[in-house]
Symmetry: C2
């Protein structure tokens, strides 16, 4: 297997990206193509690094973190564009980028197209829950969407949970503001009906609420990309608030301080839960290729985990399973 990595993408590129690749190569037989300016990359990849499984692939240009997707699409020699091209041309089976995610999505969509029968790809992300990591999509690719998109993402999410999390018959829920029929805005009310029409194609459990997502009461949560992004950032903000609060309380009360030191492991564990680096990034599902969207702040560990998620998706035949799922009569009906 071969995976293309955008070595120039991310706040800490190329050093941390290359370092993540080397870490991954130490554990896996998969070959990595490090895409970027060879001048910058060569010093970071000594001869024979990763037992010969690390190769530099020249791409002279780079997309900046703040460039618009439209502008990025005019840079065919940028590392992200070249990395996506390697998947399109069958030179690699997955691509990982922690760079400008709008640019990555634009190139992935343009370069790879969507899985037949799909209207819009979505970003699927792993969220921490009391039951372990679960899936939420769309995490931000589509700020606006139609009810039919939520229905097709139900199929994508279900396949993703089976393939990458090894869950059997995963429970899919629609994020809403109440569990009852008729709750919610126009978008979700109409999507609820469409998801019901999928019948046995997925294990759809109906509406779920914000708290259910993190309790792990469903395996896949469906929402538009605006709501999904808000959910993730609120979760981050609340965990920061709680950690800040505990620290403040400890400064105030010496007994709590001692306790805090002893309970440190528990607090660190809880912080780890919300550490994106643990989760190996998000996946752009629905495009015709395995695309892992790393967080901009990715360090070596995060990159290594992101590549591992890509490898798992390829091994689990994620793409063909998605195609099969969308080709089912029930899906077409939706």
């Amino acid at each position: 297997m071969r995976i293309a990595v955008d070595a120039m993408g991310g706040d800490h590129a190329p050093e941390e990206i290359v370092s993540g690749c080397r870490r991954f190569a130490a554990e896996s037989g998969t070959e990595l193509l490090l895409v970027g300016a060879s001048q910058a990359l060569a010093p970071l990849v000594p001869e024979g690094a990763g037992d010969g499984r690390l190769r530099i692939y020249e791409a002279p240009d780079t997309v900046g973190m703040d460039e618009s997707p439209a502008k990025a699409l005019r840079r065919p020699r940028a590392s992200v564009a070249v990395a996506v091209g390697l998947v399109r041309d069958g030179e690699a089976e997955a691509v990982v980028s922690a760079g400008n995610s709008g640019a990555f999505m634009a190139w992935a969509w343009k370069g790879l197209g969507t899985v037949p029968g799909l209207d819009r790809p979505a970003i699927a992300i792993l969220v921490p829950t009391l039951e372990g990591p679960r899936i939420l999509l769309d995490a931000g690719a589509n700020a606006d969407c139609r009810p039919a998109n939520l229905v097709e993402w139900g199929l994508l999410g279900s396949v993703y949970a089976e393939a990458v999390l090894d869950l059997r018959n995963p429970r899919v829920g629609l994020l809403n503001i109440g569990s009852e029929e008729g709750k919610g805005n126009e978008l979700v009310r109409s999507a609820l009906a469409g998801l019901r029409e999928l019948g046995d194609a997925i294990h759809f459990v109906g509406n779920v609420e914000g708290a259910d997502v993190f309790a792990g009461r469903v395996d896949v949560t469906l929402c538009d990309g605006f709501t999904g992004n808000v959910v993730l950032k609120v979760a981050e903000g609340v965990s920061e608030l709680i950690i800040g609060e505990v620290k403040r309380e400890m400064r105030r009360r010496p007994v709590a301080m001692v306790g805090g030191l002893l309970a440190g492991g528990a607090l660190r564990a809880m912080r780890r839960r919300f550490d994106k680096a643990e989760y190996g990034g998000a996946m752009l599902v629905g495009v015709n290729g395995v695309c892992i969207v790393g967080h901009g702040h990715s360090d070596a560990r995060a990159i290594c985990n992101a590549i591992a998620v890509g490898e798992r998706a390829v091994k689990a035949r994620l793409l063909s399973r998605i195609s099969e799922s969308l080709a089912q009569p029930a899906a077409v009906r939706a």
Copy 2:
């Protein structure tokens, strides 16, 4: 001052509601009208309770927690309807209900109307932040809304923060999925422009993200009611997740357990932050009367705090300040 309380509304009505009223009466000179079935209430309110500041006001009917607003509107003798009527008739200056919130809103809107110039009322709620309680609206009254609603809620939220939280020139932010111009769905992109047009009428700081809300980087967060409800429930879910995680870790490691016991105060403080009872309920702003929406689970303490918020809003002349704000030329332009 006189405040009407729906004594039959809430999961623990009427016992906890009456008990909350008695608690409040012990601290304030405000008179309370306990609206409900006198047969049920009389045994809970002994002669001379609250130094004569507690009075039972007969309402023979009750709206169930699961009844639809449409059905509730066909019960003019229900406690919530009668309580709202007391405000409409000038018999009370505020109304508190922890009952069916849809029914309360329907009666409040129908019975009191909106402040002149306003299209739709919203629920304003206090959220915990690193800087203390701040405001979010709409917290769930409008699952769908138009850009102009977010603009008018900017004015309401600003006045509310000044009047009830005593903040000067409160910072108002629009909840979005990025801080840059052009980010977000159609609704917020269009609302951003409208809020800018308010000029000096409020201190609008532009887009904010989910994490900013809980960091207290703004005093008022604006969003549609669907998103607002999701934000609150995610915050609840994440705090439950973190508390659960810390407990689990403690069971696993004895040292952490000892630490946890010592740090208990800090953990309790953090839980208190998310305790709705501390915050005294939400307010339905924009209707022509002070309406406090208590949580269905409200106990005596929560009811007492909710009444106190209503009292504060009346003392601060919230309603006339909202009217003045909406009457400004800039507001009309929006």
